[in-house]
């Protein structure tokens, strides 16, 4: 058994730095490369792509990432765990296979494909069997939006990934698995942690939480002493050096920018945190109030002390549904009295919409430069050099939202003075795909692991 296992993060979301996976495997020794592609609404985008073309529906960036790390996988035995499968893990595996053939790596590694998270085809049957799939925030049953559902996927835990690694997979492709399981599963596989090794499993989850957003724990987006963080143009993505007892060090490769410190890791730990006593995952509930951080040299933070407890009997389900249309238009007003001019423009615009008989679920005005992010807390901004009027509408009727987008431009000639910033043209109408979080009994979800040569 290895004494230390290194798991490196190479992608914090779909759209992250394309070159980071390669830099992670080439910058120093790592055992696993962990790639997280799926944000809450990503699944619905992928579902739309799959509807148009049944061979799509996965994170296509992953194919390029695999191509760039194939030498490390084939020659040095680096393993890859990614949730790039989206709503079509088999198609993702086929695309990786095709790239391997082109690169002469055919037959030199095995791909493990995890499925079973996709509940879309079973929804009616599940609802009929009494699974309400109620919205965790509002309590409403899924039946209220059933006809508008685009995708429905259970968040899977570490089990199927551990199974795939146990069957000799060098690359594991999952659909909707929890972000943290992508890091915890390799550690569980390597160290043989049992299904009830609560503290070790919780430690693996915390390791996953720290590195799942890529460089956001290694100097990116860090408020603490931000001016002093070096060379963010060459920011080092994080990796963990974990031990069997559940302790681990967070660090990054030498000769990279950014910083790993108690402060950068602390900021990431509190990111998207709920009740810190119970960070709930399918495998374990981790207690974030037990985490101990200590400096372990330059750009090294030792993490220890983590406690876990048994999980619930539910899995979270990520459901995406069509929820109407929205558009946001902007104009910029200049000093003197920039804010007052923007406020008058807002009043005129609202009156225009009223006269046109356009009704919306929601209209929101922000004055960027005065109150958009801090509201009234920003204080008196009447003397601002410029203010952007940012006016958004949302509603079920596409035509009404479309009509609204034609009301911004006329204000340039018909409204308050000192106005500019309309070069971008009419605002775009966007269809809203909203997120519906729900819970389902674990026993309902059956996972499957296939090994592809």
């Amino acid at each position: 058994m290895k004494e230390i296992v290194r798991v490196a993060a190479g992608q914090g979301f779909w759209g992250d730095d394309l070159d980071a996976p390669r830099r992670q495997v080439e910058g120093g020794q790592v055992d696993y490369l962990m790639l997280d592609y799926l944000a809450e609404v990503t699944m619905s985008i992928l579902q739309k792509q799959k509807e148009r073309d049944p061979s799509l529906g996965y994170a296509r960036d992953f194919v390029g990432a695999m191509e760039s790390v194939l030498p490390a996988v084939v020659e040095r035995g680096v393993k890859v765990v990614a949730n790039a499968g989206g709503v079509n893990p088999p198609a993702c595996a086929a695309a990786v296979k095709a790239v391997a053939e082109k690169s002469g790596a055919k037959g030199k590694f095995r791909i493990g494909v995890v499925s079973g998270d996709d509940l879309l085809g079973r929804l009616d049957q599940l609802i009929a069997a009494g699974h309400a799939l109620a919205n965790m925030e509002t309590g409403e049953p899924l039946s209220t939006v059933r006809d508008r559902v685009l995708s429905a996927n259970a968040y899977l835990g570490s089990e199927p990934i551990v199974e795939a690694l146990g069957k000799g997979a060098n690359v594991v492709i999952t659909g909707r698995s929890t972000d943290t399981a992508l890091t915890m599963a390799p550690l569980r596989h390597e160290f043989g942690w049992g299904a009830e090794s609560w503290d070790e499993l919780a430690a693996g989850i915390v390791a996953g939480h720290i590195i799942e957003c890529g460089a956001q724990c290694s100097g990116g987006n860090c408020l603490y002493d931000w001016r002093s963080i070096p060379d963010l143009a060459n920011v080092g993505y994080p990796f963990v050096e974990a031990k069997r007892d559940g302790t681990f060090v967070v660090t990054k490769h030498p000769n990279t920018g950014g910083r790993v410190s108690v402060q950068t890791v602390s900021e990431q730990l509190v990111y998207e945190m709920g009740d810190p006593h119970s960070y709930i995952t399918p495998d374990v509930i981790a207690d974030f109030t037990t985490i101990k951080l200590a400096r372990d040299g330059d750009d090294r933070v030792l993490v220890s002390g983590i406690k876990g407890k048994p999980p619930t009997d539910k899995l979270k389900v990520s459901i995406a549904y069509r929820a109407g249309f929205k558009a946001v238009g902007t104009l910029v007003y200049a000093w003197p009295d920039a804010l007052e001019k923007a406020q008058l423009a807002d009043k005129i615009l609202r009156e225009r919409l009223e006269r046109l008989g356009l009704r919306f679920e929601r209209i929101l005005t922000e004055f960027v430069g005065a109150n958009a992010t801090h509201g009234h807390l920003a204080g008196d901004q009447r003397n601002a050099p410029e203010v952007q009027l940012r006016f958004g509408v949302r509603g079920p009727d596409r035509a009404a939202v479309e009509r609204f987008t034609r009301e911004i431009a006329p204000l340039v000639l018909n409204g308050p003075p000192s106005v500019t910033g309309f070069a971008g043209g009419r605002p775009k109408v966007e269809e809203i795909v909203a997120y519906w979080p729900a819970l389902i009994d674990k026993t309902v979800v059956k996972t499957k692991v296939d090994i592809v040569q």
Partner: protein, 117 residues
């Protein structure tokens, strides 16, 4: 003595649906006691009055010298429904750092807290 949080803490925020979370971390370990005692659930709810529709939850993480706040109904529906610039609550953290707390002078001097400007 009046103390502004931005001078004694750093922070990061994120979202979960229509709820923003703000984790606020003491810049020096010895200042955590000030956060714990004076940055109360009620104080934060008052600070954000008019900006959020729901309640405020408060949690303590003495191990990280940090507090975590959940601001419910903070994101105009959240996610893709929201029309806000900060639909995912990424910078709510900085709005909390504007908060001013009142610390007894003796304690403020003992801990060498910077006074609000």
């Amino acid at each position: 003595m009046k103390v502004r949080l931005v001078d004694i803490a750093h922070a990061r925020s994120g979202d979960k649906g229509d709820t923003a979370n703000v984790g606020v971390i003491a810049l020096q370990a010895r200042w955590y006691s000030v956060l714990k005692e004076f940055v109360t659930q009620k104080g934060v709810a008052d600070h954000f009055r008019g900006m959020i529709d729901g309640k405020v939850d408060r949690f303590e993480l003495p191990n990280l010298n940090a507090l975590n706040f959940l601001l419910h109904g903070a994101l105009d529906g959240g996610g893709t429904l929201s029309l806000k610039t900060d639909a995912q609550g990424k910078v709510y953290s900085t709005a909390l750092l504007r908060m001013v707390i009142d610390v007894p002078d003796t304690e403020a001097r003992r801990l060498e807290l910077p006074a609000a400007k």
